[in-house]
């Protein structure tokens, strides 16, 4: 694990307002779902670093990239970097999606796409085409989809029907279950906005699919010292403790480990 200054080498427009922010290496080997804390070295407009999944990585670790969509001051500062300017990168942090699942069904919403590109690459290297269900409001919101086109089987869905399945990813998943492209007993990996993940987890439970979620919690430290990123959990792994730190015990949880609290 490292905390290093990296040079921004390239900003690739992924459409829909999102960018792949590419930095020089060395980027350590990183499992799917693991993340890094990022901040710009200069002119960081906020106090705390921000968590981002590693989007892509050169096979030898000579470069890495992060998928960033500007939604606030931190993400905007990262996307405003000029080539040659520096980023402080700390990681890899957190637990990966389980590595013993062959051919998972990946479901992404928005920037929740980020953890799946490296997985698609490793599946492709093993001779498999990863199934990716990718949902967004409209065609424009499916930022990064082209990167998956050749190496995986992409099933897009849009709320307005402007591309692919007309409706939410849960509707799409249901349709794929009916068509046989997805079968009962398979495993789903999901990352996206909370309401989407909740709906996917719910559907997986009803249809007999195993489901793992990667949470995008608000974090301060990212390395387990602030106790700020906790979620309510249950189950064996937590030995009766009601809370779990998403930065070290997550961000990936099996859906059945999470306790949903309506109050917040």
């Amino acid at each position: 694990m490292q905390s290093r200054v990296h040079v921004m080498q390239k900003l690739r427009d992924l459409g829909g307002g999102a960018y792949a922010v590419e930095v020089d290496g060395p980027i350590p080997e990183t499992g799917p779902g693991q993340f890094y804390m990022l901040r710009t070295e200069k002119r960081w407009p906020v106090l705390l670093p921000r968590p981002f999944s590693l989007y892509d990585r050169g096979g030898d670790g000579s470069w890495g990239s992060f998928l960033v969509k500007p939604i606030g001051d931190g993400t905007r500062a990262i996307c405003d970097l000029k080539v040659g300017e520096k980023l402080v990168v700390t990681g890899p942090l957190g637990r990966t999606f389980p590595t013993d699942v062959d051919n998972p069904i990946c479901i992404a919403g928005g920037v929740g796409l980020a953890p799946f590109l490296l997985l698609a690459r490793s599946e492709a290297a093993a001779g498999r085409k990863m199934r990716l269900l990718f949902g967004g409001r409209n065609r424009d919101a499916l930022s990064g989809m082209e990167d998956f086109q050749d190496i995986s089987t992409v099933f897009p869905s849009t709320d307005d029907g402007s591309h692919g399945f007309h409706g939410m990813v849960t509707g799409l998943l249901d349709e794929l279950l009916v068509s046989g492209a997805v079968k009962e007993g398979e495993t789903v990996f999901c990352c996206g906005p909370d309401p989407m993940m909740l709906a996917v987890a719910d559907l997986c439970e009803k249809r007999g699919l195993r489901c793992f979620l990667s949470l995008e919690s608000y974090m301060a430290c990212g390395y387990g010292v602030c106790n700020g990123c906790t979620v309510k959990v249950k189950g064996e792994r937590f030995k009766g403790w009601p809370y779990s730190k998403t930065c070290i015990e997550g961000p990936v949880y099996e859906a059945c480990e999470l306790v949903h609290d309506e109050s917040h």
Binding site: L47, T230, H264
Partner: protein, 323 residues
Amino acid sequence: MTVLETNLAGLELDNPVLSASGTFGSGWEGRQFSDLSTVGGLVSKTVTLKPRPGNPPPRILETPSGMLNAIGLENKGSEVFLRDSLPRMQELAESGQKDGKRGPRVIVNLGGSTAELVELTKRFCAAGVDALEINLSCPNVAHGTRSSTDPALTEEVIAAVKSVATVPVFAKLTPNITDVVPIAVAAHRGGADAVTLINTLVGMAVDWRRKKPVLGNTTGGLSGPAIKPVALRIVYQVRAALPDLPIVAVGGAHSAECVLEFVCAGASAVQFGTSLFSDPTLMVRVVNDLRDHLGEADTSIHELRSAMHESAARISTPGGASR
């Protein structure tokens, strides 16, 4: 004394750079980023006798130049801490005990009722800690701050802890009171070997769209650079009133310059909290930067301590009512 060495009520430190309670785990989590054997000391998160699950999320929110937290003293209790975390802190300390260095001092922060604090003090002194910091001031638990807004209670709690302690005891005080000086006086009277100033300032954040507070606990403690001026002011006032009571400063420190400012204002050591979230390697760099700054100015921590008070005494007396 070397330029960096400092002394807290008889506890000698290689340098004045410490971690702040609740912001660096037990130090173990940070060792993966840098070699912590050169920091002056590590302060644990508040340990309570029994496990405490803490407050419901959301627990943190960034604010301009700071953050709010309402963790609620989540910890697995003293038994688990003694078994799992203390040995790791002590291992880090040992890693620095070479070439005539003392290594990071192991300071455990304790919270709870008077009876619980007495029990905890016995257990942790027996386990060989270097000092204890008593958290009289957590803003995020029911009645948490009461003991450090009431002078009589402060004195009683500290006296009870001191009656069984075999290591130096620091009283960590709250800034959420009009005047901290009477509380510091009470802690001193109770026998505190030093005071840690300050814990977080109570604040809150509102989500107007949902017409709800943002934090699960409604209010939270403000920390980070935003509170540094408040911490400096309180350190300065307490030092002016109690020149013989060593002070551990905490609140918004983020550089070697900050350490020197706190030392000038009267602190003997300085803790780093929120700034460690953005940079787990910060303390090690600050120790090196301190050496450079002191070298350039041809002075030492010892010489600089309270320097401002000596010059102030010649010019005017510090503000505040007479006591």
